[in-house]
């Protein structure tokens, strides 16, 4: 059964939000959804770039009160 997991990477510079997402994607099962929270201004573009290149599925990408909420489904 697929799961949804929240990864809180707000206020972090190292290893940073995208590294945190990759870490959790590796631990997840195909079909799982991860919601990444990030205050890094670059995440809104950096994360979709990686997700699209590696072939996972972008579900949503929005900035709410200064925090990026990015949902990704593990596709492979």
């Amino acid at each position: 059964m697929s799961e949804t997991k929240l990864v809180d990477a707000r206020d972090t510079f190292c290893p940073g939000p995208l590294m945190e997402l990759i870490t959790h994607m590796k631990q997840a099962s195909v079909g799982d959804t991860i919601e990444l929270l990030s205050t890094d201004e670059g995440s809104g573009a950096d994360v979709p770039e990686w997700v699209n290149k590696v072939g996972h599925e972008m579900l949503s990408n929005e900035k709410i009160e200064g925090v990026w909420h990015i949902k990704v489904r593990k596709a492979k």
Partner: protein, 377 residues
């Protein structure tokens, strides 16, 4: 009060020593007892492995007897914990002993897991163990020219290491007079050459100056050892003559077996440094799931907060400090210069130009570490 420290790496050792000093009166009066349980009677200075891999340090310089680093009032046992029974405030060890506690500090660290990537353990040189670092140096020593690929697993210890190894490779082959015969290609998991934006911005022109090739958005998927090709999850590949890997790591098996945290990383309050839901259980260093660097530096600053708070709880009944995410990382920029990155949850690093004095400071710190881990520095 019984304080139990599980793990004798940087974080655990600093906590134990710092507490032993802060609570010396209470220990002498028999009101406090500090016990440490560790898997090893040796303590390794892990950052020294990079120097071993380049022939700049000998392996025996990396070790001290753990007992020699601890305050005499710390009751030290080489007897690793196998079961954490948090509901009973006790642990069970490999020898079968049960240790009760009032306050528990979990400092078990992490382990490299190159085997998670097919072919990586067999095909790549790494410098994350004594044997690996010595083997990597011997491979570099016999290397006469060709293509070197550096790849980076996720997650990995010390996020500065991938950049440092590039600078070291450049200087090592320059010193041997064969730099022009060596192609160095750096592969990095995200879309710039370092996860810290300020480090990436600084390092990119440095890489260009040194003639380093680089490919970003490269997550190692597998290594074809026979044909010497490394492949990425992003469907690119590179043929190499020598492969150097920053291997992925994960938390210790005992943490996973006891169901304390996915991947062996324990869910930890980012300011209090307590295990979520357990105010008498602290987590330090690589063992946490915090979004901060897995480095001795982070462990050191966390350990200071934890020991100050446990001490103040004993003395006045309440913690006094919050961890602010502080990390201070030296960055070796070759064999004779260095800079540093200092940051916390709120403030990004402000990199200074590399200098020789900063390199000398780092070389000095390699010796001063033994003072630091004793809780004196």
């Amino acid at each position: 009060m019984k304080i139990l420290v599980v793990g004798g790496g940087t974080g655990g050792t600093i906590v134990a020593n710092n507490l032993a000093r802060r609570l010396s009166g209470e220990i002498r009066a028999g009101k406090v007892k500090i016990t440490m349980l560790s898997a090893s009677d040796k303590h390794m200075y892990q950052p020294g492995l990079l120097y071993v891999a380049f022939g700049q340090m000998m392996p025996d310089e990396l070790y001290r007897d753990q007992a020699s680093l601890l305050e005499s009032s710390v009751d030290f046992h080489v007897d690793p914990v196998e079961q954490f029974e948090l509901d009973k405030n006790q642990v069970k060890t490999k020898s079968g002993k049960v240790h009760m506690y009032d306050v528990l500090v979990i400092a078990t660290g992490s382990r490299i897991v190159p085997e998670q990537i097919p072919g990586l353990a067999e095909g790549a040189e790494t410098f994350y163990s004594e044997a690996g670092a010595v083997k990597m140096f011997k491979r570099l020593r016999e290397f006469q020219g060709g293509k070197i690929a550096v790849v980076v697993g996720v997650p990995h210890k010390c996020p500065i290491a991938p950049v440092e190894v590039i600078f070291s490779l450049n200087d090592y082959f320059k010193a041997r007079g064969i730099r022009e015969k060596v192609t160095i290609k750096y592969h990095y998991p995200i879309g710039r050459i370092h996860t810290i934006k300020e480090v990436a911005t600084w390092a990119k022109p440095e890489f260009d100056r040194m003639g380093i090739e680089y490919e970003t958005l490269f997550n190692v998927k597998e290594v074809d050892v026979k044909n010497k090709v490394v492949k990425s999850e992003e469907d690119t590949e590179y043929a190499y003559d020598l492969l150097i890997a920053i291997p992925p790591h994960r938390g210790m098996e005992v943490i996973e077996k006891n169901g304390l945290g996915e991947g062996g990383w324990i869910p930890t309050d980012r300011h209090k440094l307590t295990l979520n839901g357990h105010d008498n259980v602290y987590v330090v260093g690589d063992t946490t799931n915090l979004p901060v660097s897995k480095t001795g530096s982070a462990a050191h600053f966390e350990a200071e907060v934890i020991s100050e708070n446990i001490s103040s709880i004993v003395k006045i009944g309440t913690p006094v400090r919050d961890y602010d995410g502080k990390v201070y990382c030296f960055i070796e920029t070759g064999h004779d210069s260095a800079t540093y990155a200092m940051f916390n949850y709120q403030n990004p690093p402000n990199l200074k130009p590399p200098s020789k004095p900063m390199h000398w400071f780092k070389m000095s710190y390699n010796k001063m570490y033994w003072t630091s881990v004793r809780g004196l520095l």
